[in-house]
């Protein structure tokens, strides 16, 4: 027992890209403290450094870095995180070599993270980039649940007076929810599947605030 554990972690850590990434992704879902998230994001970055030719390695580095900006408080640092994420996303796009709904979705995620750094002054510029990428993603694969999850988030955090708020966001979360239900998890568990638990949580929040109105 003991030995196999050691051996398996050893081979795992030293050799294979896919199981390593899968384990890191599983860890990311479980992370509950800032320190844990920071450690996992660091691991995504290490994976992208080691398996430099894998588009998914860069994809997840960019994903992890943009998620981290929601924890970081310093505005300058948030932008610096997103600068790193931009580079990883560009590398992912180059390696993938063709248009992909997931890459457009990730670009939309990055632009909404940029917007959140300074919403009052950035909503126009980054709101536009967000919309463009959402549209492109939708044209490739309208069944991608992350499109609607991100649109839901975008509306949820838009002040109600500008047409946002939970009530307006809810249909998007509902759409995302039904698509997440139909989603098949591939055997390796490394192609993008993120967003489901968060979407469920946000949908719950929406329902709660709509009923309390």
């Amino acid at each position: 027992m003991y030995c196999t554990i050691v051996v398996s972690t050893l081979t795992l850590s030293a050799q294979d890209f896919e199981p390593t990434l899968a384990a890191t992704l599983a860890q990311f879902e479980k992370d509950s403290t800032i320190e844990m998230i920071a450690a996992t994001v660091n691991r995504f970055e290490m994976i992208a450094g080691k398996w430099n030719d894998q588009w998914l390695a860069h994809y997840y580095a960019a994903y992890g870095e943009s998620i981290y900006t929601y924890i970081e408080k310093d505005e300058n640092k948030r932008d610096a995180w997103l600068d790193k994420a931009d580079i990883h996303l560009q590398q992912a796009e180059q390696l993938y070599g063709q248009e992909s709904d997931e890459l457009f979705v990730l670009r939309a995620l990055l632009s909404s993270a940029r917007l959140s750094v300074d919403p009052r002054n950035r909503w126009k510029e980054y709101g536009e980039i967000f919309d463009q990428n959402i549209t492109k993603a939708k044209s490739i694969n309208p069944a991608n649940p992350r499109i609607y999850y991100l649109q839901g988030n975008s509306l949820y955090y838009t002040p109600k007076m500008f047409g946002g708020g939970p009530k307006n966001a809810m249909p998007f979360y509902e759409e995302a929810d039904s698509l997440y239900q139909q989603m098949n998890i591939d055997s390796l568990g490394i192609s993008p599947t993120w967003g489901k638990p968060q979407n469920t949580l946000m949908l719950g929040n929406c329902k709660e605030s709509v009923t309390s109105e």
Binding site: Y2, E128, Y148
Partner: protein, 738 residues
Amino acid sequence: MKTINLRRYSQIRNYPKDIKSSILFLMVSFLCSLWGTAQTLIKGEIMDETGKPVAYVGVFIENTIDGSITDENGNFSFTSYEKGLHKLVASSVGYETIYSSVNLEGETVEIPIVLKESKEMIDEVVVTAGTFEANNDRKVAILKPLDIYTNSAAGGDIVGAIQTLPGTQKVTQETGLFVRGGDASESSIVIDGMVVQNPFFSNVPGVSQRSRFMPFQFKGISFSSGGYSARFDQALSSILELNTTDLPEQSNLNFNAGLSGVAVSGSKRWENSGVEVSGNYTNLAPFYSISKTNYEVYDVPEGGGFSGNYITKVNEKGMFKAFLKYDTYHNGITVPNPDSVGSEFDFGLKNQNTYFNSSYRYTREKMYAYTAFSYSNNNDDIDWGKEIQAGNDDWRLQWRGEIWYSFSDKLHLLGGIELQRFEVKREFDTIQQSFNESQMGTYFEAEWKPSRKFAVKPGLRIGHSELLNQNNLAPRIALALKTGKYGQISLAGGVFYQNPDNRYLLYGYRPDFQQAVHYIANYQWINNDRSFRVEAYYKQYIDLIREISMSDSTFTPNPYRYIYGSIDNSGKGYAGGVDFFWRDKASIKNFDYWITYSYIDTKRLYGNFTSEATPDFISDHNVNILLKYFIETLYVSVSTSYTYGSGRPYYNPEDTKFMHSRTPSINNLSLSISYLVTLGRWFSVFYVSVDNIFGWKNVYGYRYSYDGQQRYPVRPAIDRWIFFGANISLTQFSKDEL
């Protein structure tokens, strides 16, 4: 689940009792210890330059996934099976990445690391002396365009908002922007680099007029109160630079109704292009019905206009914009007669104004090319005292072409050419006056940034005036030095030329250019949402125009006076002062305030002045306090502003010294409230503004009768005004796409 775990746990704990297990255990321990010697423990502490531990730094062996992050105390430790010489990477956002060589031989490696703050975290130096910029493109800015739109003292007028910045004087009896001792003619307003010949509604004697432009038409506003770039000239004091918005964000429809009329606008957005159109009908009858005026308005201002804007991207790298605006209106007001103090006369005006501007910008990696063309036409039909027909007819054509090239991150060069041709025609009864002018300017400006902390911007402009048959050479320089993370010092200076005032050119005089030399020193400190700025300046006026035939006894403070005799460039003057600005929007949530104070000492000998004196539009001390609070729960925004100006000089024939008398101080307290609400799919704003809430009777000067026995106060057209209205807009919704 729990029980199973416990059972496993107990099995492991009891291993020595089981022989088989114990043998296995020994083997495993042996094997593991073999591996154990093969792995190296790497640990250490990471601190910043001040010795403070840095948490969450990623530490790893390069190109492997052996690594970890530092804890709260800056400590890290991890193991690696790698062998030999490797690079240990310590990387954290906000710091420079450190690479250390480590030899992995199984011996524990202990390595302390000191991180240096990344240069990117210290914002790059920006040359700022003389300029207030409201721009979204830059992270560090004292103002954002939104601050200009929501300024309660502005009354929706872009120049009104600028007049709350230090260094400006709010003048009620004359139209224009008065900056640092300069009169209205010394400021120039440019849109996308092109001079606007008639930026304000046409002049009414003794009553200042607002600008023709609304703040939200512009994405960037840059107000230079001196030391401006070599891209511009023909302004002794100031340039207000406005840059139009790029592609509209999305299609929308907008309605506005208020005491001054109604307006409709809409925009349509395609992927790479957009169109914006608007139309308005203006009628100030409701406005005048509730605000008492000091002068009788016998023909209430009424008019209309439209504007169109087309923007398109050309092949990703190019951006083409075209903007057309047309307005017409008429009004009639009984104002003090400038030619006969103590009496009033009827002044009727019918105005038509056309403005067209188009530009094309081509951007590549290390360069951009910009070219723009503009045409404007303004026509005033004036009924002067119901007896005399008067009028103005002006047009202007302008072209600019420029290229910016970046040799490296440290050196950029800008060069350009500007051509202008304009005509100004005046008609007063049987007198007809006009002139035609062609101007050419060539300019170069370099920006050299040897480090992120230091920048120098030298510039040179060569100008030519066909009318004066004169050339000028205007060197400019600006530099900036970062003094710390948040502070910087800037210096600027230069020589600025301007044609004599139109009134002299219309009379056929052809003197030389007027000249000003600026010296500016500025210190600025910006830390997130708090900013402080202090700027000291000295401006020397040379070659101002003097009407030399005027003797002491004939001075008249009448801008409409008849000019006769000879004039020359023997006028001179100076302006020196300090401007302070403090803004804080960080201390209290949703609360933003700013305080400005300016002190000015200025005197000049020009026009028909009989000796050197401070002009009548100058308050030596100016204070401006602006408070804004957003009540989040109610979606209500409240903004109030207080302005103070010390007493202004006026001409009193009894004075022994010229222009020695001073008015009482000038005070104003304004308030505006807006309420934001969504009605169905319509986003609405309801707003109400009150200027000079307490109705303080401000006096800006006095005019004396010819015998000097009677005096009449110079007062604003309205002491207190109230304005309210609503704006509703419908923005395209993606909800329908579901």
